[in-house]
């Protein structure tokens, strides 16, 4: 069968360019991310760095590991999605050929093996091109992680020889995983279908499609329902992931939904009518073209919208929980004995390693602790819960620890021993501080180097300018509103960088998927185009009708993608309402417009190009009998 697979691929290579590219990109990304992940996970800050600096570097490396992990999972998911939709689509287009094989004596197993053989060849090709591409990508990714500040300049990725075997395995596994469903469907093609002119009789909404659609819709609904009860970080993670499920559900139901959406579009003239009829008739094809647009829109619009909303909710929350006039930023605590200052809360940030549990279950994390004066802190941050017990050897915990626990703490390399947790800080959508330490616990020498912000409240009737001038000598002074804005902007920047990497990747895959499905769709329509021309349409009219059709499908894909993103937004509203008490939604309309523009440009160009080349031969050569 492998010979048949090879011949089939060679014959229909344009149909498989997209899948080959996807496997290749998938292999390259998985290989590069895996090597970088291992290197980052085992990375040790160079000796000789100050302890505080060293912990910061290691904290950055941890974020890089998480980010690489997401990249790895994301690229595998999208690669399988694009490959499976490619093969699902080619099986639908090749029903006649597959039925013919059955007619001359191929068993169901042989047809399945034919497709698996194609997948293995494709996987091998993907690995062969993906391994060298992965090397180039690793250099690029390293530079990106360095410039974005996740990894220090001293970081280098190490090559492991076994990665070649792993990459070949990845290529084949990605391709085979993508083809499994299509192979099953191919095995069910009946021999008699070879004698019908088109495979149009094939049911579009198969049982499998219904089941997977309902499964993903159910998953999305479950995540929306559970998310407000999962705490700030759990809820945010769930809300972000709703988009994956709802996008797949919308893609599965696309054959039902697209004609409904297309009916809403204006259809003027004979070309409009033709495009609309084609859309209704070729529901399978329309759904395949729309699927990547749906996924692209749902992921980018949904996740950017969720991230933006959570950031906005975090800013609003922090504004409500901060009662101060000025913020002074300095290195180490400063003296605020300045005329006009009513109260001041100095808060120094230090990296620490926190061990919870004991014996077998002990778990150590790198966290950020805030060294504070409990009384002043409570004044500057109203609604922060009771910190009355926070004196002597005691700490207040946030995410992951709760009052009554005992933890072991090393702050910036200094072991503070075991400490009781006496209070819990309220959960914040912006993450907040994980641990609060009373100032007496930490040696003054450590604090001297720690970045410190001091929230200053001025006495009524004080001269703000004079107080400000006095404080300027001790650090950088900001109005509290300016500081809040700057703080959220800094957080946004980090988020934006992470999204740049992860979503950029998703968008790239989705675009490959879009181009791919338009190419496949047009390749199978040469005869149809020829028939239209024989009826009297000019070549440019055929191309225009195809363009109209692709624009309609793209619109439907964007609408369905926005509907899928709306599921994420429902979850965002529920989570922000549960955590901060105010439902918040801040949607990235500009980005949505950008997605729409890119989708239209890409599908239109591809459609014109493919229908132009499909109509190049004279119609009569395609209308004759035969294949």
């Amino acid at each position: 069968m492998i010979g048949m697979s090879r011949a089939g691929l060679a014959e229909r290579w344009p149909l498989f360019i997209g899948a080959a590219l996807t496997v290749s990109l998938g292999v390259a990304l998985v290989q590069s991310s895996l090597l970088l992940l291992i290197s980052a996970a085992t990375f040790h800050a160079p000796a000789g760095l100050p302890v505080v600096e060293r912990m910061r570097v290691e904290e950055g490396a941890e974020i890089a590991v998480a980010l690489l992990g997401i990249t790895l999972g994301f690229s595998a998911f999208l690669a399988i999605f694009v490959i499976s939709s490619t093969f699902g689509f080619t099986v639908a287009q090749r029903r006649r050929d597959l039925a013919l094989l059955r007619l001359v004596g191929a068993s169901r197993g042989q047809v399945r093996r034919l497709l698996l053989g194609e997948a293995v060849l494709l996987g091998g090709f993907g690995a062969a091109t993906g391994i060298p591409a992965g090397l180039a990508l690793m250099a690029l990714q390293t530079r990106l992680l360095r410039t974005l500040g996740f990894l220090p300049g001293a970081f280098t990725a190490r090559w492991h020889d076994w990665i070649i075997g792993a990459s070949i395995g990845t290529g084949v596994a990605l391709a085979v995983a993508g083809v499994l469903v299509a192979a099953r469907r191919a095995g069910r093609v009946r021999p008699l279908e070879a004698l019908r002119d088109t495979g149009a009789a094939a049911r579009v909404m198969t049982l499998g499609r219904w089941l997977s659609g309902l499964l993903f819709a159910g998953g999305a609904a479950a995540m929306v329902i559970v998310s407000p009860h999962a705490g700030p970080s759990g809820g945010q993670a769930l809300a972000m992931n709703v988009a994956f499920c709802s996008a797949l559900a919308c893609a599965a139901f696309a054959p039902l939904l697209i004609p409904a959406v297309a009916r809403l579009l204006p259809a003027g003239g004979v070309l409009g009518g033709l495009a609309r009829a084609n859309l209704r008739d070729g529901r399978r094809r329309s759904a395949s073209v729309a699927a990547p647009v749906i996924v692209l829109t749902a992921l980018v619009f949904g996740q950017l919208g969720a991230a933006g909303s959570f950031a906005a909710a975090g800013v609003a929350e922090q504004r409500r929980s901060t009662a101060a006039d000025l913020v002074v930023e300095s290195t180490g605590p400063i003296s605020v004995r300045v005329p006009g200052v009513a109260s001041a809360s100095a808060e120094s940030e230090l990296p620490a390693s926190l061990t919870t549990g004991s014996g077998e279950e002990a778990e150590t994390d790198t966290v950020s602790v805030l060294v504070i004066d409990p009384a002043a802190y409570a004044t500057a941050h109203p609604g922060g819960g009771s910190l009355g017990g926070l004196t002597g050897r005691a700490i207040a915990g946030g995410d992951g620890v709760s009052a009554g626990d005992t933890v072991r703490l090393r702050v910036a390399g200094v072991d503070l021993g075991t400490l009781p947790v006496v209070a819990t800080t309220p959960q914040r959508i912006s993450g907040g501080e994980s641990l609060l330490l009373p100032a007496g616990l930490v040696p003054a020498a450590l604090l001297a180097d720690a970045p410190t912000r001091t929230f200053v409240t001025l006495a009524s009737g004080a001269d703000p300018a004079a107080a400000r001038a006095a404080l300027e000598r001790r650090g950088r002074v900001l109005d509290v509103d300016d500081w809040l804005a700057a703080d959220s902007a800094a957080r946004d920047r980090t988020n934006a960088r992470i999204f740049l990497i992860v979503l950029g990747l998703g968008a790239l895959y989705a675009l490959i998927g879009v181009v791919n499905s338009v190419v496949i769709a047009a390749a199978a329509r040469r005869r149809e185009f020829a028939a239209a021309r024989a009826v009297g349409l000019t070549r440019s009219q055929v191309i225009r009708a195809a363009l109209l059709e692709s624009a309609a499908v793209t619109t439907a894909g964007l609408v369905l993608g926005a509907i899928a993103a709306a599921a994420t937004f429902a979850s965002v509203l529920a989570v922000t309402s549960a955590v901060t008490g105010r439902a918040t939604l801040d949607l990235p309309w500009a980005q949505l417009a950008a997605i729409a523009a890119v989708a239209f440009v890409v599908t239109s160009l591809t459609s014109v190009w493919t229908s132009w080349s499909a109509t190049r031969p004279a119609p009569v050569t395609l209308l004759g009998a035969g294949e």
């Binding site: 011949a7 229909r12 059955r102 001359v104 068993s107 169901r108 021999p191 070879a194 035969g626 294949e627």
Partner: protein, 247 residues
């Protein structure tokens, strides 16, 4: 109509076979309670107006379509309720198909197309065997061409070679000359005539009286039923009979 002898010698027998499409008032009886024997070693043509059920009859007889009532026998084997595995085996060894639209696999050369049924059955046929079958249809010099490099008549001859390479008991042909010009059609019919003279059983559906006249016997179908039969007729007689049916 059915004698014991004819049953023993029949290549394919249909016993009370019906095939209904649709349900309720929209139901169409494409094949309606047909009893028919296709003799072993003979060439039978099935004719009838459009929609008379001749293609459905062929599909039922070849085990491509399930029947709603009655039995289908291939030689001594009852294939009426056979599972997919057995039908696959049957297609590999005992029956061959030729269709109007050639149905060659575009990515394979002529000889690869011909060798395909044997390869699917797990055999590696010697090149000489495949070449010999191609030579028998007059295409020894076209072995390495792909279907799109061949004329319609040549493609159909490759399809016949592919059907014959397994030495099937019965060759089923659905409008084998329907897409060919008259010269190419004559070559294909000559080939089939020679095969029938060599004791190959052939069942052919056609609407072309000239093609039907080459067969040993012609069966006429209307509204899913066998309405007439001719043996050794000339094209003119076949055409007259067909016109009478369409009236």
């Amino acid at each position: 109509m059915t004698t014991l002898t004819s049953q023993r010698t029949a290549a394919v027998s249909l016993r009370g076979v019906s095939r209904v499409y649709g349900r309720g008032s929209a139901a169409v009886r494409a094949v309606d309670n047909v009893d028919l024997d296709f003799p072993r070693g003979g060439w039978t043509a099935v004719m009838g107006p459009s929609g008379s059920g001749k293609s459905t009859l062929l599909h039922c007889a070849a085990g491509l379509e399930r029947v709603d009532a009655g039995r289908v026998l291939l030689g001594d084997t009852d294939i009426t309720g056979t599972g997919d595995r057995e039908l696959t085996e049957l297609r590999r060894t005992r029956v061959g198909f030729v269709f109007q639209s050639f149905n060659l696999i575009g990515s394979l050369t002529a000889e690869q197309n011909v060798a395909l049924p044997l390869r699917l059955a797990g055999r590696r046929p010697p090149k000489a065997e495949v070449r010999a079958v191609l030579a028998a249809v007059g295409l020894a010099d076209r072995a390495r061409h792909r279907p799109r490099e061949l004329s319609g008549g040549q493609q159909q001859r490759v399809a016949i070679a592919r059907a014959m390479v397994t030495r099937p008991e019965v060759l089923f042909a659905d409008e084998p000359t329907g897409a060919l010009d008259s010269t190419a059609a004559r070559i294909v019919l000559d080939l089939m005539r020679a095969m029938a003279d060599g004791a190959q059983s052939i069942v052919m559906v056609t609407h072309d009286p000239a093609a039907a006249a080459r067969a040993d016997a012609v069966v006429f179908l209307r509204d899913g039923r066998v309405v007439d039969r001719l043996t050794g007729a000339r094209p003119g007689e076949v055409a007259d009979r067909l016109v009478a049916l369409e009236r």
